[in-house]
């Protein structure tokens, strides 16, 4: 009907100036087709998201977080869970953890020592400090009910300011907020819909820094194994000059202050012992790295002592690596990260060390619930 007819109608029952809504004759075929098409697309994406083989053909879906690496870690964990079942052991920490702990090697070593099988996953997040790491640990513990959780604590991440970026970005992420007491529709959608996660992923195409994002995203995707480990092949021994840590980290360490919030986080992690067995391990640091602390080695040792003061009363296994000289220069990627060789060595040692603690009764990893 033309607008003229609408406006000139002399028979309008609503009188002068009134507007009458006439809904008879409304056809919803266009809307129906649109909704139908969208539903088909959503169904297809949901199937892809829930089928490990198909999902691996596409980049990891997004959680709506600016921290791509955590999204990839989370996605790999989901795929691993769908394909192999939920892990019953987690390693949590910063990049030192995803670079430094090989779950497969640890599992073998732990089994050789104790005869106990574990299915481990390394959940390391770049820039994660123990303060926020304890929240991730809490989330993983509540979702997967693992038998063992190991916090890999590297002393630089206990410096005030180190974990700020991760904390800020995750706290801004609606999915994350949804997990921790701030229910919101978008967080719910991300949690329950893979189609929505793929929409979020696609929206990165419009980022101003898309090229850089895509490159680093691809690097993370390709570098991270199905068990969350991200090994590197380069070696400190092959380098002519010792590479320096990132400038931001150097600035933080040159004005080193021990973060009470992170110490609290370590303690909070230890208190998960009520629901799962926990242990803390000092992640190795190359002696050449200690120079970046304001007071050198004494700052490093102060962190270790402060952690011990928090953990000892709780009876948590806490392994030190400082004086062990576990890793040769060929096992280091740089002064604060291990390479694949170093990770293999360290993981083997860690499996044996925690296995020994298990045999001695200090660590009480319950037997597996899986049927034989």
């Amino acid at each position: 009907m033309s607008e003229a007819r609408a406006t000139d109608s002399a028979e309008n029952p609503m009188g002068e100036g009134g507007v009458h809504l006439q809904t008879r004759g409304i056809r919803l075929s266009t809307l129906g087709t649109a909704v139908g098409t969208l539903l088909l697309l959503v169904a297809a994406l949901e199937i892809v998201g829930r089928t490990p083989r198909l999902r691996l053909l596409l980049p990891s879906p997004s959680l709506g977080s600016p921290h791509r690496q955590i999204e990839v870690q989370w996605s790999h964990l989901e795929v691993h869970t769908m394909a192999e079942g939920p892990p019953d052991c987690f390693f949590i920490g910063s990049s030192a953890v995803y670079r430094g702990i090989r779950p497969d090697v640890f599992t073998d070593s732990f089994f050789e020592t104790t005869g106990e099988s574990l299915r481990c996953y390394t959940f390391g997040v770049q820039g994660l400090s123990p303060g926020f790491g304890s929240m991730i640990a809490e989330l993983l513990a509540s979702r997967y009910s693992p038998r063992l959780m190991v916090l890999g604590a590297d002393t630089p991440t206990l410096a005030e300011g180190t974990g700020e970026y991760v904390e800020k970005t995750l706290r801004r992420t609606k999915w994350w907020r949804h997990q921790f007491g701030d229910p919101n529709p978008e967080g719910w959608l991300v949690e329950h819909s893979y189609a929505y996660r793929y929409v979020l992923l696609a929206s990165n195409w419009l980022r101003k820094d898309f090229d850089r994002w895509q490159e680093s995203s691809r690097e993370v995707e390709e570098g991270t194994t199905a068990l969350g480990f991200r090994g590197a092949t380069a070696s400190l021994a092959e380098r002519e000059e010792q590479p320096e840590p990132m400038e931001e980290l150097q600035a933080i360490l040159s004005d080193f202050q021990l973060s009470t919030a992170d110490l609290d986080g370590v303690e909070q992690f230890a208190r998960l012992r009520g629901s799962t067995e926990v242990a803390v391990v000092e992640m190795p640091i190359h002696p050449g790295f200690l120079q970046y602390f304001k007071e050198g080695r004494s700052d490093h040792e102060a962190v270790l002592q402060a952690m011990r003061d928090r953990l000892d009363p709780l009876g948590v296994v806490y392994l030190f690596t400082s004086d062990l000289e576990l890793i040769a220069d060929s096992g280091w990627l740089n002064t604060n990260h291990l390479n694949r060789t170093g990770a293999t060595e360290f993981s083997r040692w860690l499996g044996r060390a925690l296995g020994a603690e298990q045999l001695e009764g200090n660590l009480r990893v319950p037997p597996t619930w899986d049927p034989p």
């Binding site: 009907m1 033309s2 607008e3 007819r5 609408a6 406006t7 000139d8 109608s9 309008n12 609503m14 009188g15 002068e16 100036g17 009134g18 507007v19 009458h20 809504l21 006439q22 809904t23 008879r24 004759g25 409304i26 056809r27 075929s29 266009t30 809307l31 129906g32 087709t33 649109a34 909704v35 139908g36 098409t37 969208l38 697309l41 709506g64 929409v199 979020l200 696609a202 929206s203 990165n204 195409w205 419009l206 980022r207 101003k208 898309f210």
Partner: protein
């Protein structure tokens, strides 16, 4: 409350339900209250400013009607009241900070006041609405409104409040008097316009704007001539889709209430001349400027005995109009330069028209019909350099643009979005009707809607809720 937001959608939905539940006699009053509520979501102070302007204009309108010579004084008072509100509030950020700094240098520190003063939302639009109302009464083309509620609704109707279109009383008011039916056809047009508007704003304009390099806003330094061309064109397309999207969106919303608002754009980037461009870009403002600046000055000069083909008669009205347009947008030397250049384009075109016969499009071969489009775009882009970069004398940028070499590394995302926009506007130009897809079969329309919705969902997540560019003017 932003126009592109869930809050606005819910607000409109709630208003529609109540609007159609109310008896007809209450509908106008309800729309007025809804408009006030909409304004309230921005700031309660805005209501005071808008109410003051509305009341003053209303009573001056009544004084103007039927009066003879003395009415001119009332008209001046009315125009000054509107312009005064516009000048004192819109340009407060230009005038106040230096003034306060000066006062503070010899007395108490008052500089904290400047950021506290808010520029009322949409003031540039409703002051022009008020002026056109008064001038039209004085010229005898419309009667003064004797219904305060109707007039207030004309001034404050919420879909057009933020950024127009600048409606004329003679077109808007009769709609309120007539009985209307909003039937499935009207609803379909309304929702079609809303969909088009959202697509233009969220899928085309916002993503392009978010990809424009920061250097462009900072004088264009660091960008090569070719890059300047590329990003200026991209910005122009984004600006067009941003504002055209806004207009389509609010026109669609308004249709659902049974009120038609004027279109503001008619594929301006396909214009073959600047005269055509200004008849297709922000039409309601261009026509306002034409009717209340260009024509009055031209008529006055002709009455004073100037010959129509003299340079003065050609140049003065065009330049005054475009300078007026520039001042309306922003008070700055850069924007003023943009206005002067565009005025000169119009003057040049008019002078050429005295030398060469003007042909209608159908008389011309295709290459001549479309050949001038790139030229118009190129000249418009050159004129827009000061407007966009904020540089009031962008000679280095212009010099760089004269040699657009080497070609820029293309951003394929922007090229894709430009292609998408071009497809939409070409379909608009070729297919009859305001919405090219309305005659398509339902399945094709549905599929198109699904694709648009998906793109919208993707785009909105990257940069949600960008304000409309023209909201700032």
């Amino acid at each position: 409350m932003s126009i592109v937001s869930i809050e606005f959608a819910l607000f409109v939905a709630a208003c529609l339900v109540l609007y159609y539940l109310l008896p007809p006699g209450w509908q106008r009053t309800f729309l007025l209250l809804a408009s006030a509520l909409f304004l309230l979501t921005w700031s309660w102070q805005f209501i005071i400013v808008l109410a003051a302007i509305t009341i003053i204009t209303y009573f001056i309108g009544i004084r103007l009607e039927g009066a003879e010579e003395s009415s001119r004084a009332w008209l001046v008072v009315g125009i000054l009241a509107n312009l005064g509100a516009l000048g004192s509030l819109k340009y407060v950020d230009v005038v106040l900070p230096p003034l306060l700094a000066r006062v503070s240098s010899s007395g108490p520190d008052l500089t904290y006041i400047a950021p506290l003063v808010l520029v009322p939302l949409g003031i540039s639009y409703y002051t022009l609405t008020g002026i056109s109302y008064l001038v039209d009464i004085q010229q005898g083309t419309i009667p003064a409104s004797r219904n305060m509620a109707s007039f207030s609704l004309y001034m404050t109707y919420f879909p057009k409040l933020v950024s127009g279109p600048i409606e004329r009383f003679r077109k808007f008011s009769p709609q309120l008097q007539r009985p209307r039916v909003v039937d499935p056809e009207v609803l379909s047009r309304g929702f079609g316009l809303i969909a088009m508007g959202l697509f233009r704003k969220v899928v085309l304009a916002d993503p392009i704007l978010s990809l424009v390099p920061e250097e462009l806003w900072e004088g264009g330094a660091g960008l090569s001539g070719a890059e300047l061309w590329f990003w200026m064109v991209a910005y122009g397309v984004a600006l067009y889709n941003d504002f055209a999207g806004y207009t389509e969106l609010v026109r669609g919303v308004s249709r659902l209430f049974g009120i038609q608002l004027s279109p503001n754009f008619r594929r301006p980037l396909f214009s073959r001349s600047f005269t055509q461009f200004w008849n297709r870009w922000h039409i309601s403002l261009s026509h306002w400027l034409r009717d209340y600046i260009y024509y009055p000055i031209s008529r006055w000069m002709l009455r004073k005995g100037f010959r129509p083909t003299t340079l003065t008669v050609v140049a003065v009205p065009a330049l005054a109009t475009m300078v007026g347009s520039a001042l309306w947008h922003r008070v700055s030397l850069a924007v003023l330069l943009w206005g002067v250049i565009n005025g000169m384009y119009l003057v040049g075109e008019r002078l050429l028209s005295f030398q060469f016969r003007r042909y209608s499009a159908s008389e011309l071969p295709a290459w001549r019909r479309y050949g001038t489009i790139p030229l118009v775009i190129a000249l418009a882009v050159l004129a827009a350099v000061p407007f966009v970069t904020g540089d009031h004398l962008p000679v280095p940028q212009w010099r760089a643009m004269l040699v657009p070499w080497p070609p820029p590394a293309p951003d394929f995302r922007v090229l894709f979005l430009l292609g998408l926009w071009l497809s939409v506007d070409i379909l608009h130009a070729w297919l009859p009707g305001e919405m090219f897809f309305r005659r398509w079969p339902a399945w094709a329309r549905g599929f198109l809607l699904a694709v648009a919705a998906l793109l919208l969902l993707i785009a909105v997540h990257q940069d949600p809720g960008q304000a409309f560019i023209y909201q700032q003017f």
